[in-house]
């Protein structure tokens, strides 16, 4: 129990640090965002009217007061979920934009991440159990081969063959223009239909790492005395493979998986750009190319929180799965 409490305390501490850094860093940057914005609206050569800058400052709700007051305001805003107004998507708030993009990403990347882990771990375990057999050879060689291919290349081939030539799937987008985004079955079906290609391209490469990791770990645990003893005990093959060999071999993979969860919130810039998918990756890309500081900052904050949560998840999962870790924290 102490182990879990200490992990949660550590999480709260790092979260506070991350939020604070997110407050400090933009304030260390030179320049005034209002000035930048007016400049952009007016064009490079025009002289800037100070009144316009003031107007923009008020419009964007730029901070005033001492640094300490700002900090308190900021913390309150974070708790309320108020991150200001996006420059690019004015007059929408940052929160609104993120709320729009987040579900797309969570579904696409989340589902493929989990599926990739499950498929990869199972394949890796099966390959290790039948090591040096036909299945192992195909899986090991196959994953090594696919692992060398660049991801975007696979995505482009998929678009070319399945979308452009065969016309089975749409080439881009998260949903069709003619259907209103609403909570309807038609819309869900359409969204899933659009999601298949990006998901497929993610799923081809996602399991590779898990396959290799699981196979190597499990080949190791298969050679351990406790696995051999389990065989000598006359337990069923399935039980030996799962409870003795795979159960221990999966531990490092679980950490990797949980840590990977953190990156979901950031989306995958490459996939979303290639498929024109309306998720966090695309939003981040747009924010960066338009110097949309509030949006960028908030996305970074989300990513950080995601990674921290994932770390907490990994620690807790590991604590549940590996009794040795729990004890280390106690003594």
């Amino acid at each position: 129990m102490r182990y879990f409490v200490s992990r949660v305390m550590f999480f709260v501490l790092t979260l506070w640090a991350a939020v604070t850094l997110n407050f400090i860093i933009p304030r260390l940057q030179p320049g005034d965002p209002a000035q930048t914005m007016v400049q952009r609206l007016a064009g490079q050569s025009e002289a800037i009217d100070p009144a316009a800058i003031r107007a923009v400052q008020i419009m964007l709700g730029l901070p005033t007061g001492s640094i300490f007051e700002q900090y308190v305001d900021y913390l309150q805003a974070v708790v309320r979920g108020d991150f200001g107004i996006s420059y690019t998507y004015f007059p929408y708030t940052v929160t609104h934009m993120i709320a729009e993009a987040l579900p797309w990403t969570i579904v696409l990347v989340g589902v493929t991440h989990v599926l990739g882990f499950v498929i990869g771990t199972l394949l890796g375990a099966a390959a290790a159990w039948k090591r040096n057999g036909k299945f192992d050879t195909v899986v090991s060689l196959g994953s090594t081969f696919i692992g060398t291919l660049p991801f975007f290349w696979i995505a482009l081939i998929l678009i070319y063959v399945l979308a452009f030539t065969l016309r089975w799937f749409p080439e881009a987008g998260g949903y069709s223009g003619e259907i209103d985004p609403a909570w309807s079955w038609a819309f869900f079906g359409d969204a899933i239909y659009h999601g298949i290609l990006p998901a497929l391209s993610l799923l081809i490469t996602a399991p590779i790492g898990w396959i290799m990791g699981m196979r190597n770990n499990m080949v190791h645990t298969l050679g351990e005395d406790y696995t051999r003893l389990a065989l000598a005990k006359g337990l069923r093959q399935r039980r030996v493979a799962l409870t003795y060999s795979a159960r221990v071999a999966i531990l490092p993979n679980v950490t990797g998986f949980a840590l990977g969860l953190g990156t979901i919130l950031g989306g995958t810039v490459m996939v979303e750009m290639i498929f024109g998918y309306p998720g966090m990756g695309k939003l981040m890309f747009d924010a960066i190319s338009n110097r949309d500081y509030p949006l960028m900052q908030t996305i970074f904050l989300f990513t950080t929180i995601g990674v921290l949560l994932a770390n907490l998840c990994a620690d807790i999962l590991y604590g549940v799965l590996d009794p040795r870790v729990r004890r280390e924290a106690q003594t």
Binding site: G223, D225, L235, P323
Partner: protein
């Protein structure tokens, strides 16, 4: 000594009447080109306690794995059968289906049949690598899964049974809630033993069950095994390299060399009358440290490489002192002679001619003697020059976890002196503070209080450059020679480093200096070793290289940390002799750290016995070992398996 008497084999008649329980017929096992087990045949009867004695690479563990059909790939049984004759045990009802009465060949029966036979009929305790329990399951689960797999027992009765099993090996039933990492090494091995007996098997294979455990723990586990074996009547095959243990607890002993069983006879007669020269050699490497005079011998040479095809004759012949012409031409087969069986032409001829006695003493091989007094070794110990003095040192370790601080007194008020040309043995079990003291001597660790003085130098106050300069005077010989040598460098390179760093030997002078070092440690001709890599040498040769490296800076002190414990029994005396010669000839002061009182008895002038960080006894070796005053020292001495003493008594 009542405990020792209870271990006397022979109280139960080992020769169970009638058919055997297990018979191995012409079994051969190979790993790719290596024939690890060659044409082995033997029988095991119900309730018999048989020892399988062999050194590393003899094929004893491979044989054990083959019996259980647990050979790791690419190992496979290339020839022969392992017949299991599971006739029903008399007077005992067994659950489940009646075991098969007809013999079954374990090498060919189907996986499912084999699985049902496993653990119910035959179980095992693996080498105490501390790894034979699943780290993520509780002890209870690991009992429960095998009980539920093979019997109808579930729930509370199963739990009760597990509790009984743990009590049987002298563990509290509450330990069943624990995970393996929460238990000590000895406790884990007890759990493994209880697990092996969970289903009351007919046959238990014990593969080095106590190797790596402290002598006292080792002793108590073996006593436990032997008592349970008498009580429950299962048959045991005990695989071990430790002659003392095997001889003491087994009814019958089989000796394995180069993949073959070379001798098979009752332990009691083997002690008195070993037939094979290899057995004689092994027995010669063993002695009672408390005897008035201790002689230990070694067998020169090294075991053959079994991957090389076309080897003719007896594979022991190249190391054999008694070999005759026929030994080099024709490989002997195991046949009845004397009071057992042996595979040896010489012994066979001797038995054919008469009572089998041969001229040479049983201690064949080179002999390394430790005389009762040390009169031959220069002036009395007290008059020799003091090299290093450790005075009243304390060391306390703190470990902090959150707000809780735990303190361990690793060393408390220890004082001793190292003298030139003298070996001081530091004896104690793991955790006694031996290593901490060694680290203080080498300057790696500083005592909290007290002093370590080398001549005028306060070692405990050295830092930086001074410490580096001091290292030249103190060198180390490690336990595992292979781990102590960088596998990526040749022997020549490894030895050149200390010469360059400490002795400023460079250029053309380097090679002769290296060759001289190699010759000095008995690796001759040196030129054949310079270009070799560590893996190309045997364990004994590697340890010689480690000793040569320690000699390179011409040190005043050598700290040898268990230098022979990883080596095969038959060559241990060889390294001891080398260390002895170097110490006497070069006037080196040696701190010899060990848990092995026999080697301390042979090599050391003085013995310091360490227990829980305190010096409990110290003095001249002979006085300490023969006239131990401290209770702990006596306990250590009693824990040494001692077949010689028992037989005499």
């Amino acid at each position: 000594m009542t405990e020792r008497a209870s271990l006397e084999p022979g109280a139960v008649s080992p020769e169970g009447a009638g058919s055997p329980l297990l018979s191995v017929e012409n079994l051969s096992v190979s790993y790719a080109a290596t024939r690890a087990v060659r044409d082995v045949s033997f029988q095991l009867h119900d309730g018999e306690f048989v020892g399988l004695l062999g050194e590393s690479g003899s094929g004893k563990t491979t044989l054990g794995n083959a019996l259980l059909r647990l050979l790791p790939p690419p190992g496979r049984i290339s020839e022969g059968r392992v017949m299991w004759w599971g006739s029903a045990r008399t007077g005992e009802a067994r659950e489940g289906p009646e075991p098969h009465r007809a013999g079954r060949d374990l090498t060919t029966i189907g996986q499912e049949d084999l699985r049902r036979l496993r653990w119910r009929e035959m179980s095992t305790v693996f080498q105490s690598s501390m790894n034979s329990l699943n780290p993520v399951l509780t002890i209870e689960t690991q009992f429960r899964d095998v009980i539920e797999e093979h019997t109808a027992m579930r729930g509370a009765p199963a739990r009760q049974r597990i509790g009984q099993l743990l009590e049987m090996v002298m563990l509290d039933p509450s330990y069943m809630r624990f995970y393996p990492h929460e238990l000590s090494g000895g406790m884990k091995q007890r759990v493994a033993l209880a697990l092996a007996l969970a289903l009351r098997p007919r046959f238990v294979l014990l593969d080095e069950p106590t190797t790596g455990l402290d002598v006292i723990v080792q002793r108590s586990i073996l006593d436990n095994v032997r008592a349970l074996q008498r009580e429950q009547g299962f048959a045991v095959l005990l695989i071990s390299h430790d002659l003392g243990t095997v001889m003491e607890v087994s009814d019958r002993v089989m000796v394995m060399y180069a993949g073959k069983i070379v001798e098979d006879q009752r332990a009691s007669t083997m002690i008195a009358e070993p037939m094979h020269p290899y057995t004689r050699g092994l027995l010669g490497a063993y002695a009672d440290p408390r005897a008035r005079e201790v002689e230990i011998a070694y067998i020169p040479g090294r075991p053959p490489d079994l991957s090389r095809p076309g080897q003719r004759g007896c594979l022991f012949a190249p190391r054999c002192q008694e070999a005759i012409d026929v030994c080099r031409a024709e490989e002997p087969v195991l046949s009845a002679m004397g009071q057992g069986e042996a595979a040896c032409h010489v012994a066979e001829a001797a038995y054919a001619a008469g009572d089998g006695r041969r001229d040479q003493s049983a201690r064949a091989g080179e002999v390394f003697t430790a005389p009762a007094g040390r009169t031959d070794r220069g002036p009395r110990v007290e008059r020799r020059q003091e090299v290093l003095a450790v005075a009243g040192v304390h060391k306390r370790y703190r470990s902090r976890r959150g707000l809780k601080v735990t303190e361990v007194d690793a060393v408390q008020d220890v004082s001793f002196v190292l003298r030139a040309g003298t070996v001081t043995a530091l004896v104690g079990q793991s955790g006694s503070g031996k290593t901490t003291l060694a680290r203080m001597v080498t300057g790696v660790e500083r005592p909290d209080t007290g002093s370590v003085t080398f001549g005028e130098l306060r070692v405990d106050r050295l830092r930086g450059r001074g410490l580096k300069a001091y290292r030249r005077h103190v060198q180390l010989v490690f336990q595992d020679p292979f781990a102590a040598l960088n596998p990526a460098h040749t022997i020549g390179y490894t030895l050149s480093r200390p010469l360059i760093n400490h002795q400023d030997v460079t250029g053309a002078a380097l090679r002769p200096a290296i060759e001289e070092l190699l010759e000095r440690v008995g690796l001759s001709p040196a030129s054949t070793y310079i270009e070799k890599y560590p893996h190309q040498l045997s364990g004994g040769q590697q340890q010689r290289v480690v000793v040569a490296r320690a000699l390179a800076p011409d040190p005043e002190i050598i700290v040898a940390d268990e230098p022979i414990s990883m080596l095969d029994v038959s060559i241990r005396a060889e390294i001891l002799e080398l260390l002895d010669t170097l110490v006497r000839e070069r006037g080196i002061a040696m701190l010899y750290i060990t848990h092995d009182l026999l080697s301390a008895r042979v090599l050391a002038d003085e013995v310091l016995v360490l227990h829980n960080g305190k010096l409990v006894e110290s003095g001249a070796t002979l006085e300490v070992i023969r006239g131990a005053r401290d209770a702990y020292t006596r306990q250590l001495l009693d824990a040494i398996p001692n077949p010689f003493a028992t037989r005499r008594g």
